[in-house]
């Protein structure tokens, strides 16, 4: 099929960006969205033009590297699907597709469609872990965990850290991401000892990184490629408030 593309081009973090029109031809329905962009890039290279920069790596929907707002939707039109797993059979011959980077203050554009998402790592470094030094663990079956609890933790842990939730949120809030991590660790017995500390520190890091506040819109949930549920935000709020309360009471 033949497609018209409107792609955001921006040379560097400092420069001003703009949309540029391209067209690609002979795209197979079986191709993935990123393979379509590869084709565009190969044709740009053959004309000695600089190809479009975009992040991608595993192309299996799990590394969280790929991003792209496609026709206004993070990761495009298919539910629970990352851009790399989106296939061209979902588009029609002659379609015009608009492609933009994640847009959020905390995720500055590095080049074209590539953004800097290191703010997520900062949140994780502040408390997204269980302190478990190598070699200090007890036998794994000494901590029986009911299946329902383990399953719930796994639901939250499925987050791939892509940032679509932030890109979809009008406030550019990172509550779904942070909630997922907090919910994963706080639900498990191993994570209980640091539950309060973790909730406080991660929310603080999130605020410091420049993410906006949550006003319960729910756009994050609907674009999440891993279908992370809004419940994780509720749990984060609960754990955060009870932790703040305890902290106040201690002083």
């Amino acid at each position: 099929m033949k497609l018209n593309l409107k792609i955001w081009r921006q040379e560097s973090k400092e420069s001003k960006g703009k949309f540029v029109d391209y067209s690609v031809d002979n795209i197979s329905e079986e191709a993935s969205f990123l393979e379509m962009l590869d084709t565009l890039n190969e044709s740009l290279v053959s004309k000695n033009s600089v190809p479009v920069a975009f992040d991608h790596d595993c192309r299996e929907g799990i590394c969280g590297m790929c991003s792209l707002v496609i026709n206004g939707e993070p990761h495009g039109p298919e539910k629970a699907t990352t851009t790399c797993q989106l296939h061209m059979r979902h588009f029609k011959d002659g379609d015009t597709i608009t492609i933009e980077p994640w847009r959020a203050q905390a995720f500055p554009v590095i080049k074209d469609l590539t953004t800097d998402r290191s703010a997520f790592d900062k949140i994780m470094q502040s408390g997204g872990f269980v302190t478990a030094r190598t070699g200090s663990a007890v036998d794994a079956n000494e901590i029986p965990i009911p299946k329902e609890v383990a399953d719930k933790a796994m639901d939250a842990a499925a987050c791939i850290g892509c940032g679509a939730c932030v890109a979809a949120c009008p406030n550019a809030s990172a509550m779904l991401f942070t909630g997922a991590k907090v919910s994963h660790l706080n639900s498990l017995p191993q994570g209980k000892a640091e539950k309060e500390r973790r909730s406080l520190l991660m929310v603080q890091a999130m605020d410091e990184a420049g993410f906006g506040g949550c006003t319960n819109i729910g756009a994050c949930e609907s674009v999440c490629p891993k279908s992370i549920n809004l419940d994780v935000i509720a749990q984060l709020n609960r754990d955060y408030h009870s932790s703040s309360f305890k902290k106040i009471m201690q002083f």
């Binding site: 795209i27 197979s28 079986e30 191709a31 993935s32 990123l34 393979e35 590869d38 084709t39 190969e42 740009l44 290279v45 000695n48 190809p51 991608h56 790596d57 595993c58 192309r59 299996e60 929907g61 799990i62 590394c63 969280g64 590297m65 298919e78 699907t81 797993q85 296939h87 059979r89 590095i110 590539t114 998402r117 290191s118 790592d121 994780m124 470094q125 502040s126 997204g128 872990f129 269980v130 302190t131 478990a132 190598t134 663990a137 007890v138 794994a140 079956n141 901590i143 029986p144 009911p146 299946k147 383990a150 933790a153 796994m154 842990a157 499925a158 850290g161 498990l188 191993q190 994570g191």
Partner: protein, 647 residues
């Protein structure tokens, strides 16, 4: 080249504990004076960096992705082995050891494999303590499943996302150390060379992928955990930027490269769809527990399927060939990867393949659905079926899934001794990047185990021992002002200039594709002498053309994916030649290496233990020189060499 494997004395089961006891300890107060570089943040790199930092060493860790959490370990689906025997089904350290040696077709080192089996149990404990949400039974205990080629249930898993969850565990430990200031993390940085000072590895040269800046990093030793080189095939199940650069550069600086031709072709991947394809997707091998592999008995029927004339469901039982069940009745659809892959190739070569290209076989769940119900199958494989549907647009509950083999793992890698140290002192290699443990074929769910064994439980000890032997007077001695750094940096910069100034006509990707075709055709699932010779000739031509005609657009001082690919492809082309030389040298068939000249009358692999029970280690001799083969003879004192039989 010194290939002393440094296997400790004593009985197999006591080697590792004795060795640990005999190691030098570094006084905790002195540890902060040492600096260790870790290249890679996958399972091996993250776990090593975190554990070393916990011990008190200063660590710099590098990865090319924008976050350490995105290393390719994240993509592993199926699971991780450990000899816990939680199922009480007869598993033990001894059995895991034996299965790994046998699975590797007797081309790995006993002592290393035994240690791997021994520490495997601690890995699960460690991961659970970090909060890795492994699958559980209703009673709250850990669940297990059996996995490709094993007759016990020793595989731990977290839905179809085991690699992701294990990596997030290691990443969380790493994060804690980054937060504490013990690890400095360099994301979007690519290592382009190793710096050797006075015979010891003392640093690396890296490129900042965002600014293009080239910088020098010095340390007291270097750990490479840069993953495998499957992308030499262009199409593989690896992530797009997986590369051989880190290990190949080390090879060019004097590290021996072991068994480069030992690559694993995974039997259950989604077939290729067309020319523009950039990546092959793996379908977890666990599917083979319930799916039955078949093709039509006749070419005529296969043709009708390919043209869409008939639907596979309408083919009666007597016209189907369940070839794995037929050929290997005791293992059936669970036959090891190399055997399953080769069998798929055989039936497709006979013209009985399905998929529009003729390169595909069925993995059919019809009988399992009749037996256990659709709901049960959905619970077991729901996410995999969804993924299949997303990619192919077909519904595997109704139409049999189609699969075909694809490159998936590389058993070869930098040669290391028992301490995971390469032939360059101070250069340690962990995870898929080294050659240890899997011989000529890796068992399913054993790579995650090895990556974490190396990173959590081996490297932290052996690096400590190396630093202890180096002595405290040497700590922090190397600095980036030394001549060696200057010189290597100049070489790295000159190479980049060369790429930028070439102004040829072909993109790096087009060279990569051509390279992949050559390797797949001549050094893939089956190999022969004349083909390999032809491949070497073609690769030399390709290399020549590359260095005259590659086109790298853009600038070197910015984010430039073309420049990145050019560097990786340049190394892959040279490396491909090394692979072919290795495959040519090894006049036997073993594991993933099938030489057509060496097979039984029934077409099974024919190993040659009297002449080839060695690790083939290649020593670089300079530009344009043929590398020299060195051998580490393998001694089997605890397992009797036997013909692998899965019949």
């Amino acid at each position: 080249m010194n290939l002393d494997s440094k296997i400790p004395e004593g009985p197999l089961s006591e080697k590792w504990s004795n060795h640990k006891f005999n190691m030098r300890l570094v006084n905790p107060a002195n540890r902060r004076k040492y600096h260790v570089i870790v290249v890679g943040s996958g399972l091996a790199g993250s776990s090593a960096a975190a554990s070393l930092a916990e011990q008190g060493y200063n660590v710099s860790c590098f990865c090319y992705q924008d976050s350490p959490r995105r290393a390719h370990s994240i993509a592993a689906q199926g699971g991780i082995n450990a000899a816990k025997n939680y199922q009480n089904d007869g598993d033990s350290v001894q059995r895991l050891f034996y299965d790994t040696i046998k699975g590797g077709d007797y081309r790995s080192r006993e002592a290393n494999v035994y240690r791997l089996a021994e520490v495997s149990t601690k890995i699960i404990d460690q991961c659970v303590s970090q909060g890795v949400p492994f699958a559980r039974e209703y009673g709250g205990l850990l669940a297990n499943r059996s996995f490709g080629g094993a007759q016990v249930s020793r595989t731990f898993y977290a839905r179809g996302q085991t690699g992701q969850q294990l990596l997030l565990g290691a990443y969380s430990s790493l994060n804690r150390q980054i937060g504490l200031g013990k690890v400095t993390m360099y994301t979007r940085h690519e290592m382009l060379d190793v710096v050797v000072v006075g015979g010891h590895a003392k640093g690396i040269i890296v490129r900042n992928l965002v600014t293009g800046e080239i910088t020098r990093h010095a340390a007291d030793c270097v750990v490479l955990a840069s993953g495998g080189y499957g992308n030499v095939f262009y199409l593989s199940t690896n992530a797009q930027a997986c590369n051989v650069t880190a290990t190949y550069r080390a090879y060019k600086r004097g590290a021996g490269f072991a068994n480069p031709c030992f690559t694993q072709i995974h039997p259950t991947c989604i077939p290729v769809h067309g020319e523009d394809q950039a990546k092959l997707t793996l379908m977890s091998e666990s599917l083979r527990n319930d799916g039955r592999v078949w093709v039509p008995k006749s070419k005529e029927l296969a043709e009708k399927i390919r043209s869409g004339e008939i639907n596979p469901n309408s083919i009666p039982e007597e016209d189907r060939d369940y070839y794995l069940e037929r050929k290997y009745p005791s293992f059936g659809n669970l036959a090891p990867r190399d055997i399953s892959s080769r069998s798929a190739k055989e039936v497709c070569d006979e013209g009985r393949g399905v998929a529009s290209t003729g390169l595909g076989v069925y993995l059919d769940f019809r009988d399992a659905i009749i037996r256990d119900g659709e709901q049960a199958i959905r619970e077991r494989y729901g996410n995999l079926f969804e993924m299949y549907n997303r990619i192919t647009g077909e519904n595997p509950y109704q139409t049999p899934m189609m699969i075909f083999p694809a490159v998936h793992y590389t058993m070869g890698g930098l040669w290391v001794d028992y301490n995971l140290q390469s032939t360059i002192p101070g250069l340690f290699v962990a995870g898929e990047a080294n050659f240890s443990d899997h011989g000529a074929n890796r068992l399913g769910a054993s790579a995650l185990m090895q990556g974490l064994a190396d990173g959590y439980f081996v490297v932290p000890y052996t690096v400590g021992n190396y630093l202890g032997e180096l002595g405290i007077a040497e700590a922090g001695f190397s600095n980036t002002q030394e001549d060696a750094f200057e010189q290597v940096e100049a070489e790295v910069k000159q190479r980049i200039d060369q790429f930028m100034n070439m102004k040829g006509t072909r993109s790096p990707r087009s060279f990569h594709k051509e390279l992949g075709q050559i390797i797949w055709n001549y050094c893939g699932m089956s190999r022969n002498q004349s083909g390999l010779n032809e491949a070497i000739e073609k690769l030399q031509k390709l290399k020549k053309e590359f260095w005259q005609n590659v086109l790298v657009v853009g600038k070197a001082e910015e984010l430039n994916a073309e420049l990145e690919r050019a560097g990786r492809v340049a190394d892959f082309i040279e490396f491909g030649e090394l692979m072919c030389r290795d495959a040519l040298m090894r006049e036997e068939s073993c594991g993933g290496h099938f030489r057509e000249e060496h097979q039984t009358n029934e077409g099974e692999a024919l190993r040659n233990d009297s002449d080839y029970a060695f690790v083939g280690v290649w020593e670089y001799k300079g530009e344009g020189q043929i590398p020299v083969l060195q051998k580490e003879d393998l001694a089997f004192e605890n397992v009797a060499l036997a013909t692998r039989s899965y019949k």
